[in-house]
């Protein structure tokens, strides 16, 4: 599974530009799926048919990662940028941005400390292409970049960019590969544009119209020094079963099913109450006539920076929990 994680996290795919990631996933899942389809926004729908009268279940992880876009080029040949998704401007200084065509630029700041307002903070950043003349700038307004970071296996912990949410994609791929039989009709949907407002989940959930919808995404980890607010979820303590975040309340029956399944299968779990951010589940919950929605989250340190960390055991246990959930019939009422 680490091979797949390396492949996925090193791939380029900011919001709206997920083609490369989609191709990688397509290759991985094709021989395990009944159908594979790409919808108008670019979401990848992978259907695994069930054996009986199960539920229609949609499992979603998003393919896109945070990134940036060139908003203009100044008179001296430095690029100015705007964020694709939520970025912390201070964390970008000294990082390298890689563009669709492979062009690499360094991000730096004009002045410290950063202005308080986030839009002014972005104005404070610039991209250096290493050119001496404006005419030699190799990019244009509107060109998109992601961060350039290799995957590192630290042993029990994995370090990479875009673990949000390639780790969710990897979990879904692995689950599909290992899932032998299921009573349910399962749509594994790899979504686009989550980081800019769960836009891919809005349209894919409308198309699928699931009974049950589960988002597989990362969540914060409450064990780092900068954590001022108490956050119960911690890296290495098992998958986090979503109770609520700012975008949704998980359906209590669905949450109960997850908790009971974890206990019955000796899989450690935590309960997630997140006061910042949301996932594709928020969109799936209210798409069409609505669905019973919830989420399973993988604790992640340094979220939304170019260097994110997850615990490999948490990842494997998330796969186990999904397999246990999907392999058996259930009545959720």
């Amino acid at each position: 599974m680490k091979e797949t994680i390396k492949l996925l996290t090193e791939a380029y795919g900011p919001s709206g530009y997920e083609q490369t990631v989609r191709e990688i996933i397509k290759n991985q899942v094709e021989s395990y799926a009944d159908t594979v389809e790409v919808d108008p926004l670019g979401n990848l729908h992978v259907l695994k048919k069930g054996t009986g009268d199960g539920l229609k279940i949609m499992i979603a992880a998003h393919m896109d990662e945070i990134g940036l876009m060139v908003s203009f080029i100044d008179k001296h040949g430095f690029g100015r940028l705007t964020g694709l998704g939520t970025l912390f401007p201070q964390s970008l200084v000294g990082n390298r941005a890689i563009f669709t065509d492979g062009t690499v630029a360094v991000i730096n700041a004009e002045k410290w400390p950063f202005p308080e307002r986030i839009d002014h903070s972005f104005r404070n950043l610039y991209l250096d292409f290493g050119v001496l003349r404006k005419e030699d700038v190799p990019v244009h307004v509107g060109d998109v970049a992601a961060f350039q970071r290799p995957f590192v296996d630290l042993g029990e912990t994995l370090l990479a960019k875009s673990l949000d949410d390639r780790i969710g994609c990897a979990v879904m791929i692995e689950t599909l590969k290992q899932l032998k039989t299921t009573p349910h009709e399962i749509y594994f949907v790899f979504t686009v544009q989550e980081e800019v407002g769960t836009r891919g989940a809005i349209t894919s959930a409308y198309k699928v119209q699931p009974d049950v919808a589960i988002a597989i995404d990362v969540t914060d980890s409450g064990d780092v020094p900068e954590h001022k607010q108490h956050f119960e979820v911690k890296m290495g303590q098992g998958p986090a079963i979503k109770v609520m975040d700012i975008g949704m309340l998980a359906h209590p029956n669905l949450r109960e099913w997850m908790v009971e399944t974890a206990i019955a299968n000796d899989i450690p779990y935590q309960l997630e109450i997140l006061r910042l951010g949301s996932t594709d589940a928020r969109a799936m919950q209210v798409a069409g006539a609505g669905s019973m929605a919830g989420g399973i989250s993988i604790p992640c340190r340094h979220l939304h920076t170019p260097s994110e960390m997850v615990n490999y055991q948490d990842v494997q246990q998330t796969v186990q929990l999904l397999l246990a959930l999907l392999s058996n019939p259930v009545v959720l009422g």
Binding site: S15, G16, Y17, D39, P40, L41, N43, M69, V70, S71, F72, I73, D74, K75, H76, F78, R80, T82, G83, L84, H140, V141, G142, Q193, V196, G197, R199, G200, I202, T203, S204, Y206, K207
Partner: protein, 354 residues
Amino acid sequence: MYLEKLSNAFGVSGSEENVRDMIVEIAKPYADEWQVDTMGNLFITRQARRGSKTPAQRVMVTAHMDEVGFLISKINNDGLLKFETIGGFDKRVLLGKSLVIGKNRIPGVIGLKPIHLLDHTERQSVPSIKSMYIDVGANSKGGTKVNIGDSATFSTQFGYLGGTPVEADSPPPKQGRVKGKAFDDRVGCAILLELLKDEYDFDLIAVFTVQEEIGIRGAKVAAYRANPDLAIILECTAADDLPRPNEEDEVGIPRLGDGPAITIMDRTFIANRSLVDLLTETAINEGIPYQFKRPGIGGTDAKEIHIARSGVPSAVVSVPARYIHAPAAVLDLADFWHAVELVQATLEHLPIEI
């Protein structure tokens, strides 16, 4: 060119009927069918030209009819009117402006203290919108025919800038700059009316939407109803080409006269890359100037259209204008006609595989 007529028309969000009636009148000769939905969105269908290969394809091209304005919220005992703003305003543009109010187009003025009466601190600041009022010349509550709930807009009349008068019966000029209110988005409506004069290889669904300025409300239900295969949104966007003495490094975009602005990404929408590429390639092949809208800011009807139902590949083409959301905007007619040419030429390449 219908821009003059449309700019002068009255159509604050929620009260678009005057604009809609005008568009129906102009578009009727080209319409195979037309309908108005419950919110007031206007749908005009132009069927694919006979013998086209893929007439089943549905392409939705939209522009919003509404403009920013005001809503009368209270009539004071002294006859002065309190108001709410409809859509986004910079309060600095409001003081002392001339308005028309309600169906009877009653004239009024947003009042202000003259410079003679201001003390030092008052000169340094702009009063809050809450403290502003509209003067319709009444002395008492009963002294006006204005009703609570009436909407109001600026009384600005469309005009050609630069000297040479344009005769009423002469063909519309292809260049030069013009001023007027509500260019956002009557300019889109005017482009869409030009596009309706042609037939294409697909069913063209021209949709004139309502209530864009107060949260993209009309487009949401319009896209659901139209259920298109792809969409092009026509807009008026803020030009950023005025001198900035303090920020010499910055080169603002888009600029008046540099052609229609194509959106790559704004605050609510990432454009479909195949459509952006088709637009830019078409512009290059046809020799039509174009530019990109500054990424990351603003939002349009595309916000709701591209995520309607199971998703709609969409693009936005805008005419840049200075001073939008203010009494008088200025745009370059060359940009307007280049936008017409660009979208027309692009539609000729449709349908494409996305």
